[in-house]
């Protein structure tokens, strides 16, 4: 029996042996399935692909943001002042919107964001009418592109984080099943088997003992009987024979009753 802590607290009975065997089978099936899922998730089409795209998107973001902030500087140069407040106040509804949808990658739901622009929603078209209007519009276009890059990046990043989490969970489960649950169940089965064997052996030994004792008793009873017969024959009292016959059945009953108690 290896390590009492490594088995489940069950009574070593045949019923629990059956349960354990079913459990072991279930664990093995589950292990196989999870292993396959983990392989599917880590295959070269998902995670490395996503990391590559994140890398690309980040580089793109760096470029676009740089251009965008320079175009903002251009606006400041052309307008010759701060128009931030004016822009803030004249914006009424969002022109640039994000739609979220779900994608299914080997049983994992990944959110994907999609950016789109509503048409005919140009709240500050007239900003900088007197001067700098073109720069303002251009700046807006550039920033729209920058936000687009950000949305793409956000979508990839979220997918990556979720996928990473799922892969971790799956691997943890695979490992748990492989290294904890299966050995423990096996141990339990072994334990139950050995306990049951021991019980069998004990039983066998006891039965043997009982048989021995019975033999001994029978032998003793035979010996006594022989002695009595010999005495009777020696005394020659033939009429007393029925008396002896009457008493023997009672003796046999008593002996049987004693045996019951021993059992």
């Amino acid at each position: 029996m290896s390590g009492a802590g490594d088995r489940e607290p069950v009574f070593p009975t045949r019923q629990s042996l059956g349960l354990m065997k079913a459990k072991l089978k279930g664990a093995e099936t589950g292990h196989n399935l999870l292993k396959r899922k983990s392989e599917a998730l880590t295959n070269p089409n998902t995670v490395p692909e996503i990391t590559r795209r994140i890398d690309e998107a980040k580089r793109k973001m760096g470029r676009v943001m740089q251009i965008a902030s320079l175009s903002l500087a251009e606006v400041t140069y052309a307008v010759g002042g701060n128009i931030g407040y004016q822009i803030q106040e004249s914006a009424k509804s969002a022109r640039f919107r994000v739609r979220a949808k779900q994608e299914n990658v080997s049983g994992v739901l990944l959110p994907a964001f999609e950016a789109y622009q509503t048409e005919g929603n140009n709240d500050f078209a007239m900003t900088g009418l007197g001067k700098g209007g073109q720069q303002v519009q251009r700046c807006r276009e550039t920033y729209a592109r920058a936000v687009e890059a950000l949305v793409e990046l956000a979508s990839l990043q979220t997918a990556f984080v979720i996928l990473d989490e799922v892969i971790k969970v799956v691997n943890r489960r695979v490992n748990a099943i492989e290294h904890v649950i299966i050995p423990r169940t096996e141990n339990t089965i072994k334990y139950i088997n050995s306990e049951l064997d021991e019980l069998d052996r004990e039983e066998f030994y006891r039965l043997k003992k009982v048989a021995n004792k019975k033999q001994r008793d029978t032998a003793a009873a035979d010996a006594e009987m022989k002695k009595k017969n010999a005495e009777r024959e020696a005394n020659g009292e033939k009429h007393k024979a029925p008396e002896v016959d009457d008493s023997t059945p009672a003796d046999i009953l008593q002996a049987e009753g004693d045996e019951d108690i021993i059992f």
């Binding site: 740089q66 251009i67 965008a68 902030s69 320079l70 175009s71 500087a73 251009e74 400041t76 140069y77 052309a78 010759g80 002042g81 701060n82 407040y85 004016q86 106040e89 004249s90 140009n122 078209a125 007239m126 900003t127 900088g128 009418l129 007197g130 001067k131 700098g132 209007g133 073109q134 720069q135 519009q137 251009r138 700046c139 276009e141 550039t142």
Partner: protein, 365 residues
């Protein structure tokens, strides 16, 4: 003749302003600035010109705080000149501030329209456009009150009175309001320099007419170009053109009918300067190319806006060749504003590490 008595009242200030003009950064300064590696270096380069004002800045300041400090210097110098000005020069300088005032009032109107606490906006107002009674405008809670207090409290009343009623503030786009005011302001300023007895027929009216005409033309062209693709109708657009300038009246009439960049180019054909601007800008793609990834005009071609600024600076520089004129104050303010824009641009390029377009500043000295 005008030189005879000019110095009695204005000689000192003319001297001061000429001194300020000599303090403007030169081409060599700009070349040094573009060599800077970081904002601190830039600050060091600006030391001689802006020393006291930049001293309070923390190491590696943001470009906006740099711009704010450089503007502060302009404002303090302007206030000094204004405090020493008398008579018609004082009035002239007041006129100069009206343009900024229009921006401030437009800002307050925007705030009131959106029911913001306009008191917070006072900090954002341009200090040159500050007037004593500006905080009073913040008391107004609705647009009608604001309209009435603008009429009573500000020097801008005449610009509102003729062309805007209080419903307009509510209904019209704030940009239209602003440009209507600016148009009225330019016309009034033009009238002022040409009709005031101290200025009519002097170099002041001559030089100022040139400057204001240029400003009027530039606004007309810009408004036209920027209105393409917006809901501004041609009739409304026509109302925003100032009624003077070298384009007026034929050019502006044609501008009001223009539908595209080409139309504008035809409209300004009559003025040689603008024609050459448009030819240069036309080659560079004009304003029609917002989709290019460079985020703006390419480094090779200058935008129309740049060329207008360049032209304005050249006229302003030319002003200093004349004597006995108030126009040097106007020119000095414009040159300083351009200088601040240049500094901000260079600082921005350095901060963002985008040296390839750092040379886009405009230097005339």
């Amino acid at each position: 003749m005008e030189g005879l008595l000019f110095n009695v009242n204005n000689g000192y200030l003319e001297g001061i302003v000429r001194g300020y003009r000599n303090g403007l950064l030169t081409g060599a300064n700009y070349t040094n600035m573009t060599q800077c590696e970081n904002i601190d270096d830039l600050k060091l380069q600006l030391g001689p010109a802006y020393g006291d004002f930049l001293a309070a800045l923390p190491p590696n300041p943001s470009t906006s705080s740099l711009a704010a400090k450089t503007t502060e210097k302009l404002v303090s110098e302007f206030r000094y000149v204004r405090a020493n000005a008398v008579g018609s020069l004082a009035k002239f300088m007041d006129y100069l501030t009206y343009g900024y005032m229009i921006d401030n009032v437009a800002l307050l109107i925007t705030g009131t329209l959106h029911e913001r606490d306009t008191r917070e906006l006072l900090d954002r107002c341009h200090p040159l456009g500050w007037f004593e009674t500006m905080p009073v405008l913040c008391v107004a809670t609705n647009i009608e009150e604001l309209y009435n207090s603008v009429l009573i409290e500000t020097p801008l009343a005449p610009y509102f009175k003729g062309s805007l009623i209080h419903q307009d503030l509510d209904e019209l786009n704030i940009e239209i309001v602003r440009n209507t005011l600016y148009k009225n302001y330019l016309e009034d300023f033009y009238r002022f320099v040409n009709s005031h007895p101290d200025m009519a027929g002097t170099p002041t009216s001559e030089v100022m007419s040139e400057l204001l005409e240029f400003e009027a033309d530039r606004r007309a062209i810009n408004i036209t170009l920027n209105s393409f693709g917006t809901e501004l109708s041609k009739a409304d657009r026509k109302k925003l053109y100032p009624s003077f300038g070298s384009l007026y009246p034929e050019g502006t009439l044609m501008l009001s009918r223009a539908d595209d960049f080409e139309g504008v180019r035809l409209a300004v054909e009559g003025v040689a300067d603008y024609k050459s601007f448009f030819e240069a800008a036309g080659l560079g793609g004009g304003p029609g190319g917002p989709g290019n990834m460079a985020g703006g005009t390419g480094s090779d071609g200058r935008s129309l806006e740049d060329m207008f600024y360049q032209k304005e600076m050249e006229i302003a520089k030319g002003t200093f060749t004349r004597q006995f004129t108030y126009a040097i104050v106007y020119s000095w303010v414009k040159l300083r504003e351009q200088e601040i824009r240049n500094i901000t641009w260079i600082a921005e390029c350095i901060a963002q590490n985008q040296k390839e377009r750092i040379g886009n500043y405009i230097s005339v000295f």
